[in-house]
Amino acid sequence: MVRSMRSWVLNYLVHSELTRGIAQAATVAVFVLLTAWFAAQRGAASIGEIFVAVTRAIVQILVVGLLLVILMKTPWWTAIPVLAGMIVAAATIAAKRAPEVPRTFQITLICICAGAGTTILVMTALGIIDKQMRMLLPVGSMIIANTMNIAALYLNRFVGEIRSHIGELESAIALGAAGDTAALPYSRAAFRASLIPAIDNLRSLGIVWIPGIMAGMVLSGSSPLYAALYQFVVLGMIFISGSITSITASQLLPRNIFNAREQLLIRDAVEE
């Protein structure tokens, strides 16, 4: 009764599954743009930027949906180039968080490869991720997306910390400190901040939110208990890959903002 009431408006207008999906997406997009308009009124965001993001998200996810239809019929190993492509895309997106840092793309690529690549590889070898397209692709993409967020959070926070503590940092350098030693407190702050979402996800699992994989597995007929355990497995993998990504970033990034003479490379070109 409740369910039929909820979907009454859309069901009244559309009948096929695809047209219903389009109608649902369009409705949500309108609400997203409305919210963006309110945010833009308060100077919190640019409506143009959000419009582009929403359009891009719809097009991307439709393309992915079509690709999945094809990919699900291919052998498991075709997931490898697809996941590799996702890693490169994730590294490109995360790198945009700190364009002023030299070689950011190489750093985010190494970090995401180390975090997501290693986790997917080891977990597949251990049989925790089934060597099947329908498991490898969604679970792998979830892990990659989360490592991308963590790499972006780390970059964003680290550069922000450096900018707001440039006096302390250069005082340490002026006393003879090596660049990575001087940047250590800010690297630690960025490391802690980048892992907050992953830790909070683990902490709130089942209490604040019931994640997608578990809901999907239950809907497709798996035992709710197994679905719950597997959801923990997925979040655990996300945490592991995220931690490896953040640790790798904290090893590579501080060194990268200094040259061989320990001079800060991302200092604003403003003197006196």
């Binding site: 006096g167 250069e170 005082s171 002026a174 006393l175 400190a177 090596a178 003479r261 320990e262 003197e271």
Partner: protein
């Protein structure tokens, strides 16, 4: 002791023409002498000190320390020899003793409690070892910044408007302290100031900069007028 020979610094900025911050700067400071560097805001005073401590690299020219081109000295070793006190103290989190230990620790050296106490006494902060850095007043923090620079036993001390962020009372105390430390330790000193009266009190010679160039270089009377 410290010499600049035709030193310049130009920075490249994306989408903007190159910006000349310093052009053809030359001067010499004798061992144990203090050079007062004057100029309006944006004249290039701080940029000059950053080159002397090698926080930045000159685009041209040479900086000589005790007859040796500083480009040939390891940058970290050079910074140890050429100490710097900035306009603000920028103390590190932790206690005063942690701040003072920092410099020598970068070269694998541990300071004894007696050495730290001696430095604190020299800057008029005896007994402050365990005070948290964030609880200090502006004047006290600047004294700790000086002690932190002295802990490296520098040959040259660069002072970048060290009293400009302090109130009148603290300003006088810190200026007198700096003068006595520079004289006592026979330090070669480059003291950046925008205050002509302060330049007369602290320097033996003066260098006047404007838009990145030397306008006058000589005795205090020659540069500042009799």
């Amino acid at each position: 002791m410290l010499a600049c020979c035709s030193v310049s610094r130009t920075i490249q900025r994306n989408g903007h023409p190159a910006l000349k911050l310093l052009e053809n700067i030359s001067f010499f400071v004798e061992q144990g002498a203090t050079l007062a560097v004057l100029g309006a805001s944006g004249a290039g005073k701080s940029t000059l000190l950053r080159l002397l401590n090698r926080l930045d690299e000159p685009s041209g020219g040479q900086i000589m320390l005790a007859g040796k081109n500083t480009a040939e000295i390891d940058a970290r070793q050079l910074r140890r020899k050429v100490g710097m006190v900035m306009q603000r103290a920028y103390l590190f989190p932790g206690c005063v003793a942690d701040n003072i230990r920092f410099g020598p620790a970068q070269f694998g050296q541990t300071m004894t409690d007696a050495e730290i106490a001696g430095l604190l006494e020299q800057v008029g902060l005896a007994g402050y070892e365990q005070r948290e850095a964030h609880t200090l007043s502006g004047g006290e923090a600047q004294r700790v910044a000086l002690a932190r620079a002295l802990a490296n036993r520098p040959q040259v001390l660069l002072l970048d408007e060290p009293t400009s962020a302090l109130d009148e009372e603290a300003k006088q105390g810190v200026e007198q302290l700096l003068l006595s430390v520079v004289q006592q330790d026979r330090l070669t000193c480059v003291w950046v100031t925008h205050d002509r009266a302060q330049a007369r009190r602290v320097g033996q010679r003066a260098l006047l900069l404007s838009e990145g160039r030397v306008i006058a270089d000589g005795s205090l009377d020659e540069v500042l007028g009799a």
